[in-house]
């Protein structure tokens, strides 16, 4: 499809737009998408992308203590990795500190299967999920996502903070489930082999 010709209002130079993007990202409390940035800067998405490239070059690992990262469906500043030790002396990591195996499995289930209720999670894990889910909600890694149509149970999904803590550009950045072990057919085969080997 051909793009229609249009009169482009010049707008500020990209360098200035880049400064605006920097300003927005330094005050935001969440990663900002291109659409968020375009709306706040009152400019085109295309030009925002150009400005983001400028900002990304200025705030790159090794260049700067502030680093631009693409995370949780948007862009955000974080500390350079070289400053991790200094950051560790000043800041706690309350969100991810002491996440249990049960908590990580629960997060995996919500991240892969999409919004799911506590009974859904309990079915997969084989144990009640109530306290684990409550703990993850308190940490801000899970959030309520409405109620299921049938049973009316509250559903939970992972939050943008989850993506941020695990450094995921989006949930699509998770490895494909097929690549993770545990094929049903394979397990079934193993069970059958076991039974046949005895031949009873």
């Amino acid at each position: 499809m051909e793009r229609p010709l249009r009169l482009v209002q010049a707008g500020p130079p990209v360098a200035q737009l880049a400064r605006t993007v920097e300003a927005l990202l330094v005050v935001a409390s969440q990663p900002l998408s291109v659409a968020d940035l375009a709306a706040a800067a009152a400019d085109d998405a295309d030009r925002i992308e150009e400005a983001l490239a400028v900002v990304g070059a200025r705030f790159a690992e090794g260049e700067s203590g502030i680093v631009l990262e693409q995370v949780a469906g948007g862009y955000a500043f974080r500390a350079a990795r070289e400053a991790a030790e200094a950051c560790g002396r000043l800041f706690e990591r309350p969100v991810e500190r002491g996440l249990s195996q049960a908590a990580l499995e629960t997060l995996a289930i919500a991240a892969y299967l999409g919004p799911c209720s506590r009974p859904d999670i309990a079915r997969v894990r084989g144990v009640a999920a109530d306290s684990v889910v409550a703990n993850l909600v308190e940490r801000g890694l899970l959030a309520e996502a409405g109620r299921s149509d049938d049973a009316g149970a509250v559903q939970y999904r992972t939050t943008p903070l989850f993506e941020r803590v695990f450094g995921l550009e989006s949930l699509a950045a998770l490895p494909r489930l097929d690549d993770l072990g545990g094929d049903a057919a394979e397990i079934r085969e193993r069970l059958e082999q076991l039974s046949q080997s005895r031949g009873a």
């Binding site: 005050v27 079915r123 993770l180």
Partner: protein, 256 residues
């Protein structure tokens, strides 16, 4: 492989664990007949004999025993998951394998997340608002001053007096029905509960039912009901023959 080798000597089964598993999957042995706690004890005893700890074997055993426990629970409580209880043995094995596979995938995903967390431990970012960020301003559309007067008038309206008539529902004493049923049973060996209370209001019927349960608790009567909502047959206990006892036991199990 400690799990496969595990020798079992149970009331219902004697042989290695994997044979038990095979027989259960083929429905040649009823899980309800197997004391799974004995299997656990046997496993722990074998573990204690070993010098080292076989973590992989422990993990495999836990998954298998948990699956068996789940299947057994489903079998014991058919109403809890009717669709699963109705599965053919073949399908149940399929379902078991499917769930094990799903759980395994989620465990792998959790392991991936754990690695990720370690790899990202040098990424620090701000939680919460920036110290010098602008304060979001909440703006309100123009409002009518009449709303204010209306709000005060509402506060000034005396609350409607709440009727407490429904609290006055009177129940007859349970003892009244105890006496009544005892006297009926003195005359007749059996009676039909539904017919006996048919003329009473519902609240009285409820009390009559409590009296019936009380009589059963004291062992004065036996109860029979052929199906849910079918008439309840009440019989004097001294009369209850073997057949009646059996039916009552079935009734107890269903209602437990």
């Amino acid at each position: 492989m400690i799990v496969q080798e595990l020798a079992l000597d149970l009331d219902a089964f004697e042989g290695p664990f994997d044979l038990l598993l095979a027989l259960v999957l083929r429905d040649e042995i009823a899980l309800s007949d197997v004391e799974l706690v004995e299997v656990v004890i046997a496993f722990i005893e074998r573990l204690a004999e070993r010098e080292d700890i076989d973590l992989e074997g422990c993990g495999e055993f836990l998954v298998l025993i948990a699956s068996l426990l789940e299947l057994k629970a489903r079998g014991l409580f058919p109403d809890e998951a009717e669709e699963l209880a109705e599965l053919e043995p073949e399908e149940a094995a399929e379902e078991l394998a499917r769930r094990l596979a799903e759980y395994r995938r989620m465990k792998s995903a959790a392991a991936w997340l754990t690695d990720r967390l370690v790899a990202e431990c040098d990424r620090y970012f701000r939680l919460g608002p920036a110290p010098l960020a602008p304060r979001p301003e909440r703006r309100l559309a123009p409002q009518s001053a009449d709303l204010l007067g209306a709000a005060l008038r509402e506060l000034a309206t005396p609350p409607a007096s709440v009727s407490l008539r429904h609290m006055e529902l009177r129940f007859p004493p349970v003892s009244q029905f105890l006496d009544r049923f005892r006297s009926v049973l003195a005359r007749r060996r059996r009676f039909d509960f539904d017919a006996e209370v048919a003329d009473l209001p519902r609240s009285d019927q409820a009390v009559a039912f409590l009296a019936l349960l009380e009589l059963r608790k004291t062992g004065e009567v036996e109860l029979e009901q052929s199906a849910p909502f079918a008439p309840i047959r009440v019989s004097r206990c001294d009369l209850a023959d073997e057949e009646a006892v059996e039916v009552t036991a079935a009734w107890n199990v269903r209602s437990a």
